[in-house]
Symmetry: D2
Subunit: 399 residues, 4 copies
Amino acid sequence: MTNRVILAYSGGLDTTVAIPYLKDMTDGEVVAVSIDVGQGGEDMESVRQRALDAGAVEAVVVDAKDEFAEEYCLPTIKANGLYMKQYPLVSALSRPLIVKHMTEAAKEFGGTHVAHGCTGKGNDQVRFEVGFANTAPDLKIIAPARDFAWTRDKAIAFAEEKGLPIEQSKSSPFSIDQNLFGRAIETGYLEDLWNAPTKDVYSYTEDPTLNFNSPDEVIISFEDGKPTAIDGKPVSVLEAIEEMNRRAGAQGIGRLDMVEDRLVGIKSREIYEAPGAIAIMIAHAALEDVTVERELARYKRQVEGKWAELVYDGLWFSPLKRALDTFIEESQKGVSGDIRMVMHAGNCNVNGRRSNTSLYDFNLATYDEGDTFDQTLARGFVELHGLSSKMAAKRDFNL
Amino acid sequence: MTNRVILAYSGGLDTTVAIPYLKDMTDGEVVAVSIDVGQGGEDMESVRQRALDAGAVEAVVVDAKDEFAEEYCLPTIKANGLYMKQYPLVSALSRPLIVKHMTEAAKEFGGTHVAHGCTGKGNDQVRFEVGFANTAPDLKIIAPARDFAWTRDKAIAFAEEKGLPIEQSKSSPFSIDQNLFGRAIETGYLEDLWNAPTKDVYSYTEDPTLNFNSPDEVIISFEDGKPTAIDGKPVSVLEAIEEMNRRAGAQGIGRLDMVEDRLVGIKSREIYEAPGAIAIMIAHAALEDVTVERELARYKRQVEGKWAELVYDGLWFSPLKRALDTFIEESQKGVSGDIRMVMHAGNCNVNGRRSNTSLYDFNLATYDEGDTFDQTLARGFVELHGLSSKMAAKRDFNL
Amino acid sequence: MTNRVILAYSGGLDTTVAIPYLKDMTDGEVVAVSIDVGQGGEDMESVRQRALDAGAVEAVVVDAKDEFAEEYCLPTIKANGLYMKQYPLVSALSRPLIVKHMTEAAKEFGGTHVAHGCTGKGNDQVRFEVGFANTAPDLKIIAPARDFAWTRDKAIAFAEEKGLPIEQSKSSPFSIDQNLFGRAIETGYLEDLWNAPTKDVYSYTEDPTLNFNSPDEVIISFEDGKPTAIDGKPVSVLEAIEEMNRRAGAQGIGRLDMVEDRLVGIKSREIYEAPGAIAIMIAHAALEDVTVERELARYKRQVEGKWAELVYDGLWFSPLKRALDTFIEESQKGVSGDIRMVMHAGNCNVNGRRSNTSLYDFNLATYDEGDTFDQTLARGFVELHGLSSKMAAKRDFNL
Amino acid sequence: MTNRVILAYSGGLDTTVAIPYLKDMTDGEVVAVSIDVGQGGEDMESVRQRALDAGAVEAVVVDAKDEFAEEYCLPTIKANGLYMKQYPLVSALSRPLIVKHMTEAAKEFGGTHVAHGCTGKGNDQVRFEVGFANTAPDLKIIAPARDFAWTRDKAIAFAEEKGLPIEQSKSSPFSIDQNLFGRAIETGYLEDLWNAPTKDVYSYTEDPTLNFNSPDEVIISFEDGKPTAIDGKPVSVLEAIEEMNRRAGAQGIGRLDMVEDRLVGIKSREIYEAPGAIAIMIAHAALEDVTVERELARYKRQVEGKWAELVYDGLWFSPLKRALDTFIEESQKGVSGDIRMVMHAGNCNVNGRRSNTSLYDFNLATYDEGDTFDQTLARGFVELHGLSSKMAAKRDFNL
């Protein structure tokens, strides 16, 4: 059987040179797969052509933006999925989607291997490889950067040796991964944790320390946890994210500077921008506060933390992740209504909510006329609520 | 035995009139206890005199600001104690402190009853009464507002009937509770969840939608989770909170507008301001990200949620709260170092951290020269990390 | 509108006398509802006739054994639902079922009130009343034993006064609640925790300290968590429980003597017998060990504890319980196969399991021929698995 | 510097032959370290002499039985530490103790390497190596069985080649690890999960399917969670375990047949015997039911599961394990008193408990004379306990 390597192809120098390299290495053929998850940059047809020029036997290009929004970003919104309470899982979300499409390409084109460009100290190698273990366990995995110390310098040397017509762009000081849900930046000088990010790090967001002309008030509507309209205009999830990336980004919302716990056991400094994700998730959480019952809400907060850790840790397809998904889906029934927020200078503040499925009851809550809460019930409640603790206190404090 | 009522005394009209009322009601005496937890307002000596004038047999005034900061606010900082991930427990923290001092007063002055002014639909009745159940289970509790529908109008009528020399201030539309850790505001028109707060609601914070002249950069230093210096100047916890209230408040930081789940089962709309609490807790959490080991950090996030719920629910003295305290205290060993933040227009953004007890290892994290991470280890890790999920996928997806 | 009380009617003296009592009290009519959940005793038609004789305007009898087994016991089996790790929730399961049928009767017969016989210090009042709050929040609830101190003695006096033809059985020293999933016994002398239960307490189980002739080997088969066959013979869930009640009971399996934490805040001593429930749940859990992936299994153990607490606490219909149900249901996919157990003298020991959906892989597990586990992967795994802890140890232990 | 290998030395053939093998391999010296954790077998002095005869430059023998009982078994008792709710962590407990003593030997004798005999598919390699990473991160680790495929056959061939005077015992079909807390057995035919264990597998316990003459009633006393007396006779923890191993073992208590989730991702079949551990832990848990407050008890059950997983996973020295230890230690205050159990034919049934620190209150619990529970409190409690769920039901069920 001919070796056929399904390569996650970005169009950049490293993966372009990887095409002849993988052909040599496996004595086989390479199928380049490029997925549009909203990363921007050049058009996908150019990317496809470059792969073929570099020797790929097939080059597949997939516009997966809608799928990414509906199947990966939306569950994250419903889960309030923030790793370490902060990071909306941007890169961790795109990897399982890419895995899925590479697996499909492997079936279509008779792939025997899959190849990715990740190093051995990051999270993405795990997300790719555990992903393949869960979708195509028989495919062999090639990770040149990790297993063969394949670096940019080696790629250039290899290209020159082979006489490949590559264009050497100026080496960027930034290592960037971006998609429609956000943007991740690592760069050398930030490895000193005391250094602040410089302005050129950012691209999706304005500088929140500038003076802004006026706040931007927005109303986001949800149905069962899904964003369905912005300022009354119906939107798809993709449109909601794109629109909020634009508007929240313009107000400097969604920047993160954090030290995070990688799955491989080390801590690393990361800069993120995720204006749309953060703005939508703030609105979603505020709507949950109005529409989700207290005990469910309390438990869901624990589930959310675990869900985010699993996704971060590359376990998107795992049985536990799937079981938590059913819990979260059930919790979203009734998370419907409108959230009004004021966005300004890096802030995104909720100041109004309305919902037909609200659990807020004016007549129970009000201290004014119309009060229906029977206060005489409270005495018994308080007494029994505290009884077990009271018994313990009598013993422990000798009362 | 003479009835002696230990009254939580604020100095306001309601509790002043409550003094003769409670004397009548119990055919006994009243001891007024007033605790300074940084709520501001008139000086405590005037408060004390007013209680005596109104007929209290004793009037006790306690400056508990330092105790409140060290024994109640600091554990909250260490716990990242935010109810529903947002609210730093402002009122929930002062109640157990007040209970403790009222219990001490009861011992000193031979109290037989304790009295508080809470209604039957809020959380504070629970915090008071479960508190007393845990510190002085034999004292009888009187809650006139709840159990005898004692209202402001009744208080005024009673005062007039008794010829008490009260001064009727203009009735405020706001119901406010404040202390050095923050400020809580409820008011009638906000009971419509779609209404936005008006500017006059706020007192601790500037309006973040104004234009601010310049960002305020601050460095907060911690030792084992405790804030110990600001911009290099040593501070007590009380000083840290006061200083950050001032500086973060001036930048519009720490406003909250939320719908929260009360212990009595209803949802209610609350406005909070807690500039110092929020700013210090952001810094503290960022330092934990650098100094707390991953698995401990992941578990602590769940503990934090539970801790905040217990404190919110009035269980400050409960056995579970005390056991979680030991966990949290242990977790804070090594949470030492400096966090640099930029405060501006409602934002409080960490952009630098340094620590002698950091778990960040440049040589493991860097992609540049000096890298000591052995990438060949990753392959085995990834494979076994994903093995159990892979086995399940083979079965569940028929692979 | 005529008052109509829907009464949970057992057929015993107390609830029989309650019929005229409730008519008097409400100046209305009484509809008696009796549910067969496998509690045994007299036939339901006699029960029905007695209610009518005592003055009920309608008397409804429902054979709900199958429904109870499928809709209440089966979820408990899937959840390994043991309160305090021990008690299979026997009484807590029947209450929501009774509530459901009483609610239906209220709809059919125009009920305005519901009545139950529970006291104010047990759990069942909560299960009934929270149940009604969740199925028929507008019905008024009457709890004579709790709210009007309606006791057996008062019932007898009332019957004599009214000249009701009651038959005074000898007062039993035991308070018993039983159904097909088990039997709960409370009795005065066991309120001294040092007293051991006497033999006459038990009815579903043989004395396990006797000598038994021979062990009973049984094979229970499951499909997706549901028991479907015993020793190869297909069974309904009801049949599975009945058959295992008989066989496990004959071997003295399923007795519990525990001190339990009631919802109202007190600890109480309880004796339970649940031979079928315990035997089936042991088999079910053993099959999960073979068929549920590790991380899902670890998390499910926490969910199980919460699920059992919610059901014990009367929150069967609550949003959190319903969301946990979806998690548990998802977890049961693939919990299919056979478990072989030896039952003898109070023991129920699993000694064999086979499953087509097993996640056990002989070739990975074996140390003999056929081993396919690649041991070289372990080194990398071990190193990275321990890396974050190692970094912390270096700091904390000055290594 | 001379290479010096600190070898975990059992005295058996494999580790005896490993001594010259490791000398060859490292061109250095070997220090044999043998720890008595109650595994029985030959006396430690013979073991020591054999190591020296085989060429060890030093041979250290440590009687660590008391230390093992106090520092490793006791925390497990307090934690009710059962992996997968069943397995009392027998082998997982001895590994960190051995690591600790090997680390001390390395310091004393200038060790540069440590060596253990574990394979690459079990848990013990992880426990050893993560242990060393946490106590002596600079030592190099040699695992011949895993990294050099060092097998029994190779050991024998090597011994013959080197002319070592070894005694070839008959190869046992069982792979056994045992200590005073229990015994673990793996063997080829049990790798078929449908096969039942044969009688010769067991050594610590009698066959529970035999007929036993008479039940053995025992009273175990605890102070703050620690077993301190048996039938009134004061005991150390070591003595408690040894005594209960004898008595519970004689009644056939403590056998386990389970399929367990290994850390390396596979499921494996394991047989355990732990009569003393199981009997003491049953008593301990029953005493907790009487002495630990409800909410603390509920939370502790989750902590227990996590604690057991961490210990099983080799993370004894990890920061999270240490923080959970403080929680558990705090929870044990007041876990004092006597538990009476009847042991018979594999059963260990609690039937009496008494404690001066009990939270059981007869006067609150009793339905007889002396009842002090105020039942009128219940109505308010029930109503507010169920209120949030009621609001949700109204919405979700259209009530």
